[in-house]
């Protein structure tokens, strides 16, 4: 009943180990860059001033890049069958609507409450 798996080919093993350490370096470097960007921004501008939107866009793109390394390399998704990858990734497209709709709703609430002077 036990279907024994043969050990992996040492050359494949070696290349996979290298790929993982490479991804680790990337994740670390990206996190450091993010924190440094946040600190530089804090030093340069008062809170609420400056090109905040640009910085936030940078943070979002960097986080997606980190997600790519974690899902692709650590969770091994880059090496899975395409059909499996699609069944997992395609449903997350709904999140785009989810984010836009709810942030829109949030700012509409703020506008309404400001207009009717519910809040200062």
């Amino acid at each position: 009943m036990a279907h024994h798996h043969e050990p992996l080919d040492p050359a494949v093993y070696k290349s996979q180990v290298n790929a993982v350490w490479k991804a680790t370096v990337w994740l670390t470097v990206i996190t450091i860059v993010e924190v440094v960007a946040a600190l530089i921004y804090m030093e340069m501008y008062e809170a609420g001033q400056g090109p905040r939107l640009l910085l936030n866009g940078f943070f979002v793109i960097m986080s997606l890049l980190k997600a790519f390394f974690i899902v692709g390399e650590f969770m091994h998704m880059r090496y899975e069958k395409r059909a499996l990858v699609l069944t997992v990734l395609v449903p997350t497209v709904f999140l785009i609507w989810f984010i836009i709709a709810f942030l829109w709703e949030g700012s509409a609430w703020l506008n309404a409450r400001t207009f009717w002077e519910v809040i200062g």
Binding site: A67, V71, E80, V88, F102, R113
Partner: protein
């Protein structure tokens, strides 16, 4: 004859199991779909954070809230401690990947060693989070005292509620992951997987553990960076 087609399909027409079209086992596939549903749960939490933040005229400045450091009184090191926490969780994830790879090589000692390091990393992360929560709730320096009812950082009390809810929910995932990792480590050491002939359980639990790291990327983004 037409009647033939009404007969039940013959055995060779039915899928009798065997090789999966996705080339993964049932357990691993279901772990992927569980993680997808869990990703939606976390997305809903983080998007409600965004909605409430957009609704509020003021919000807390992360550089001001998260500037504490253990063993340094009145520290003002913005994002310093959380960077260390992030690095610990990334490293822990890497250790578990190494355990999975040693499993592919059928190397029992390697699996146990890397899994153990992964457990240490997870436990260290939980310890850091415990310190951070304590610091925010009961820290004496610059008027902390953030709870789910109030916060002292010039933002609605929602900030505290969302912070404790979301980091708590993530922390509970980390805790469950550490428990699962401990079980896998003990079973690997006891030779359960060696007898079974494969180390797939390490892969499945590993997937869950990496997912916890993935969620942290976005918790870090929403609470500490944006």
């Amino acid at each position: 004859m037409a009647v033939e087609s009404l007969h039940p399909a013959s055995a060779d027409q039915q899928w009798g199991g065997g090789k999966s079209p996705f080339n993964v086992s049932y357990g691993k596939l279901m772990m992927w779909y569980f993680l997808l549903s869990d990703a939606f749960t976390f997305s809903a939490l983080l998007i409600s954070y965004g909605t409430i933040r957009f609704m509020s005229p003021t919000w807390a400045d992360p550089n001001e809230v998260f500037n504490g450091m253990p063993f340094i009184e009145n520290a003002n090191i913005p994002l310093g401690f959380v960077s260390i926490m992030t690095f610990i969780l990334i490293l822990s994830s890497v250790f578990v990947v190494r355990a999975v790879q040693e499993g592919h090589m059928m190397n029992k000692a390697g699996v146990v060693k890397w899994m153990f390091l992964g457990i240490l990393g997870g436990a260290a992360f939980l310890g850091c989070q415990a310190w951070e929560w304590t610091h925010l709730i009961a820290g004496v320096d610059h008027g902390h005292g953030m709870t789910i009812y109030r916060n002292t950082f010039g933002a609605p009390s929602h900030f505290g509620q969302l912070f404790f809810l979301i980091t708590g929910f993530h922390g509970f995932h980390v805790f469950s992951g550490v428990v699962l990792n401990i079980i896998v480590c003990i079973q690997a050491a006891a030779g359960v997987y060696e007898r079974r002939g494969h180390y797939e359980m390490v892969e499945k639990i590993g997937l869950y553990w990496h997912f916890v790291d993935l969620v942290w990327v976005f918790v870090f983004l929403c609470f500490y960076l944006l």
